[in-house]
Symmetry: C2
Subunit: 400 residues, 2 copies
């Protein structure tokens, strides 16, 4: 079996941690698997380099930032290869360049374009454990590039795809993906299996574990993922193709998003075409609109509501002003979005009803609703957020 | 004028220091020169990485050590380029690979084989300040290599040679090369000019400034060197071809070597061929012999004396034992070697006599003597070391 393992910053955050990782890798090698290990920079290192650069410029050249930032992962890869060799396991460290990772030229946020797998294949063929510096590659003209946030995960997934690996294991300091945030609902349970699409919808639950970009890439390349902790031997959460999940749960998880704000425009009917104008303006300003509802009021005028990220509230206010809609607009930051996610919804009716009933039983008013094939999202007053999560978690029996 | 500047670890040891270096480089650029800057790792960084590797292995793989150690200079080069760009000077940072530095494959102690100057020439042609990560290159097959101690100096000298630069400026935290160690003789004066060969003989005086390998390379490539301080604007010491030094001083400097030990074999004549056997054995053990004297004692037997590095005393003792010479051998660590160095000796007689007279006047017994074209070395009792240096410094009027 060919395994790609990726260890994040906290997993390689100290000499002791790197030694633990080496033991884990060695044990896997002993079991007969071929292994490519992708490593992040030791925790704190990348921030240290960012801070250093910040001492010289608020807007440093991105090309030079990439040369700077790529050094952290090189250090970890060399140290892990040294540790493995010392333990008697033939091992070789490869920089992103040496691993054949070619990206586009968008420095600090590059995308992987292709991977020249020759050197990794040669080293694996020699029976070596291959340790790759994550987060980095080179452009077509040989400049060092980095992949942005979550870049080492992307490296691992892309390598697993290129090598046609059997599994890509993402090691962090948490056990996997939970049915909901355990800080809100202590009864939250770790999920054994989940589909790519569910994972994408549960993004905020997995934010510390695996970023959306990596899940999307894994889905595209059909890479089997598992997220596990490097601090224990617990089974993690597998992220697979939907058809590879035998028992599809009705609902996989409940997720809460506290960073939304609601915008309401009242009586927009006096101004024909204003809805189109509003969304055109918001798009041109790069403001992401999440949910949209439109309804006709009792007086025949139309109310238009939508949600945005709280960080974009000021930009949105300016945009509304610019199109002369500031009089009729209201902003509300005191809301949260609670979503119920599950592939089982596709084939089962009544999932959404259970959600509405549950919140009604708790006397929580639902201000907006939007649904997709595998998700029901509801906007409610933020003070009921945690209560709603716990009630829904109970209603769908996610603690069983 | 094309200038190659090299800044050592203390010169780039902090954010403030790097900013000072950027100012110095910018000022030079303003004067109309083209500049390539070669940088070391920030002081302490390389030792930090060595220590980290030491936590995993006492004998880490050299290939991986190179990947590890090369990161420090990459960081500095990126930071300096960012600083220069922020100040409005177009600048680009190049890793050893990007600068085209190709070495042999002796990892951690590689030798530069050639430099592909295309990318440096292109960047200079665009008017940019080129900042190169020192100490590193790549092998023919693309592996990262490092050049060993003083490697960044070697990078700078080799680049200056390849680009046919007008001058290679080596910046450290000292002003230049002195007539002798100022801690021994406070009247020691900074030398304005010195030949490559004198510099090689005065190696210990310049040890903190410039290593022998770099001087040898500069001599071979006819690179004009100057060593200066990056902490002030003092003129440094130029190291030039002998023919480029107009006024050749009789004596340039006095140097003391406290790390020698003397080995004496008495009555070796009883064993024919033993001298050859001894030196063959020492050579096979990799022990460096410096001075050798042989003289016939009053009783007709031969005494053989030689000096070695103190660190190799135990190895030498073992070697003597192995060839059955341990009975007749004496070891003396309480000696020093004091040398008088100057190209003027070639054309002036009497230089050595002055040295002998001077020590005699101080009642210092000379135990061994060796001379070369530009150097007179004397072994004396270590307790007279500093006295001898001061007396000789005076005798040759080096404080004028």
């Amino acid at each position: 079996m060919l395994v790609v393992q990726k260890y994040g910053g906290t997993s390689v955050g100290s000499v002791e941690r790197i030694k633990e990782v080496a033991k884990r890798v060695a044990k896997r090698k002993e079991s007969g698997d071929d292994i490519v290990v992708v490593v992040s920079a030791m925790s704190g290192e990348t921030n240290k380099l960012l801070k250093l650069a910040g001492e010289f410029s608020q807007n440093p050249k991105k090309r030079e930032m990439d040369l700077l930032l790529s050094s952290g992962e090189r250090v970890t890869s060399a140290l892990l290869a040294i540790a493995l060799t010392e333990m008697g396991y033939e091992s070789t460290a490869l920089s992103g360049r040496q691993a054949g990772i070619v990206t586009n030229k968008k420095h600090t946020q590059a995308r992987i374009e292709h991977i020249n797998i020759k050197s990794m294949e040669r080293e694996l063929g020699d029976g070596k454990i291959v340790v790759v510096a994550g987060f980095q590659g080179i452009t077509e003209v040989g400049e060092v590039s980095t992949l942005g946030r979550g870049g080492s995960d992307l490296s691992a997934v892309a390598i697993a795809g290129a090598l046609n690996a059997d599994i890509c294991e993402i090691y962090t300091d948490v056990d996997g993906i939970y049915t909901t945030d355990p800080r809100i609902e202590p009864k939250a349970k770790k999920l054994d299996r989940i589909s790519y699409d569910e994972m994408l919808e549960l993004a905020s639950l997995g934010a510390k574990v695996l970023q959306t970009r990596s899940v999307e890439l894994a889905k595209k390349l059909s890479v089997n993922l598992v997220t596990r902790s490097s601090f224990n031997d617990n089974e993690g959460t597998y992220i697979l193709k939907e058809e590879d999940i035998m028992e599809k749960p009705l609902v996989s998880g409940i997720v809460i998003d506290k960073d939304q704000a609601r915008v309401t425009l009242r009586g927009v009917s006096d101004k024909p075409g204003i809805a189109a104008e509003i969304f055109r303006k918001l798009a041109s300003e790069g403001i992401n609109v999440d949910m949209i509802i439109q309804n006709v009021g009792v007086d025949g005028s139309t109310n238009l509501g939508f949600t945005i990220h709280q960080d974009e509230l000021d930009m949105t206010r300016d945009a509304m002003e610019a199109i002369g809609a500031s009089q009729s607009v209201e902003f509300d930051k005191n809301i949260v979005k609670v979503s119920v996610v599950g592939v089982g919804m596709k084939s089962h009716s009544g999932v959404a009803c259970t959600a509405f009933d549950t919140l009604a039983d708790e006397s929580i008013n639902i201000e907006m609703i939007s649904t997709s094939e595998i998700k029901v999202s509801m906007i409610i007053n933020e003070k009921y957020g945690e209560l709603a999560v716990r009630a829904l978690h109970d209603a769908y029996k996610l603690d069983r």
